[in-house]
Symmetry: C2
Subunit: 216 residues, 2 copies
C-alpha cells in the first residue's frame, strides 16, 4: 500500500484523508488551522499544523517520505501553487491537486501535477445531466468517448422487451444488463422484459445516450 500526505483539511481534503485512512492506508494530514488538524487527529496516522507554502516545514513534517501528496488548499491560489511546487521539490512521486479555476488547472498541469481535480465543476456537470434527464440516475465516463449510464426505466417502457426498444439499432447503445432490486438480469438475447423502475445499464457515446433519453 502507498502512504498519503493530504495538505489542506477543508471538506474535500478531510474527506479524502479520512476515507483513505478508513481503507487502511497510512495518512498524514496537514493544515494551518489548529482546529482542522485536531478534527482528524484520531482518524489519521499523523496530523500536523504546518503551512504548505513553507518547504522546510513540510520537510520536517516528513512529507518527502510519502508516496502521494494531495494538495487540497482551496481559496488561496498562491498557497495552492507554492504547496504543489514544494511537494515536487521534496520528491513526492505522485501529486494530485484540487484546482479552483480553469486557468489554475492549466498552471498546475504545467507544474507537473499528475491529476488536477475540480470538484464543483465535475459535480456541476453531473448534476446538470441528471436534472436535464431525470431518468439518468447516474453515469460514469470511460474516458474514450463512451459512457456507462444507470437509466431508470419509465412507465412507458414497462413490459417491453429489451430488443423491442431498439437500443442498438436506433441509438447504437449496448445493454450491459438490468438490475431489479438486488437481482441482475442479463440482456444478451434481447428477450428480457423491462419493468418500471428497473435500472437499465447502458454503454454508448454521450450524444446517443442523450438522444435516447430525450426520446422518452
Amino acid at each position: 500500500t502507498r502512504s498519503f500526505a493530504v495538505i489542506g483539511l477543508g471538506t474535500f481534503g478531510t474527506t479524502v484523508a479520512s476515507e483513505l485512512a478508513r481503507f487502511g492506508n497510512h495518512v498524514l494530514g496537514i493544515d494551518t488551522v489548529e482546529r482542522n488538524v485536531a478534527n482528524v487527529a484520531d482518524t489519521l496516522a499523523e496530523a500536523v499544523i504546518a503551512d504548505g507554502r513553507d518547504e522546510q516545514a513540510l520537510r520536517e513534517a516528513g512529507v518527502g517520505k510519502y508516496d502521494v501528496a494531495i494538495v487540497a488548499i482551496g481559496e488561496d491560489l498562491e498557497a495552492n501553487i507554492l504547496c504543489t511546487m514544494n511537494t515536487r521539490l521534496l520528491g513526492v512521486k505522485t501529486v494530485w491537486v484540487k484546482a479552483i479555476t480553469r486557468t489554475h488547472h492549466r498552471i498546475l498541469a504545467k507544474l507537473g501535477a499528475d491529476r488536477v481535480i475540480q470538484p464543483e465543476q465535475e459535480i456541476g456537470r453531473h448534476i446538470a445531466q441528471m436534472l436535464h434527464n431525470p431518468l439518468v440516475r447516474d453515469y460514469v465516463s470511460l474516458g474514450n468517448g463512451f459512457h456507462v449510464v444507470d437509466f431508470r426505466v419509465p412507465e412507458s417502457l414497462n413490459e417491453k422487451s429489451v430488443g423491442a426498444v431498439g437500443l442498438f439499432d436506433d441509438f447504437e447503445l449496448r445493454v450491459l444488463g438490468l438490475m431489479r432490486g438486488g437481482d441482475f438480469i442479463s440482456c444478451e438475447n434481447g428477450e428480457a422484459e423491462l419493468r418500471t423502475d428497473d435500472k437499465l445499464l447502458l454503454l454508448g457515446r454521450r450524444e446517443n445516450l442523450r438522444r435516447f433519453g430525450d426520446s422518452l
Copy 2:
C-alpha cells in the same frame, strides 16, 4: 422540457446553469454579485442580480414560474437556508440544494429539499477510492448497494481468460463487458481474453469490488 432557476453563480452554480443551457433548457441565473451575473448573461435565457434571502426579489425575477430551482449559495449558511425556504414558498416544484456541512444537509432535508448535494464530499470519496486502488479508473453507485466499476486490467492479468480470473466464483462480481479502445467485447461465456489496459466493466458490492482490487 423543464425550466431551471439557479441561485448562486459560483463555480458549481455556473457549471450547472451553463450545462443545462447547453442542453437546450431555459435557464435563469441569479447572484448578488454583478460580475457573476454578467459572466452568464450571454449563455443563459435570463440573468438577474438579486438576493436569494429576499422572497419579493425572487418573485419579481420570476422564480415562482420555474419548474426547478437549484440553490448553489455556498459559504453563507443562513442565505442558503433562507433561499431554499423562499423557493418553496414561491411554489417551485423541485428544489435541489448544495449543502456545506452534514448538519446543513439535515436542515435542508427537513425543509423539504428534494436533493441535497455536497460536491467536495462526493468527489472526495471518489478520489480516495481511485487513490487507494489506481486500477479503479472510475465507478458509479447504483444506489442499491451495488456499484459498476471501470477497472484497468493490469499486466498481471494479461492474456488470462475472464473465466480463469474467478471474478464470479471468488468475488461475486459480474462482468458487464470489456472495452478495448473503442471496441466492446462481450464476456458472457467467460472465454474472452483480457489484455493490459483494457477497461473491465464490473458489477458488484463495494466490499467485494475492493477485495478484488486489493487482491491484485
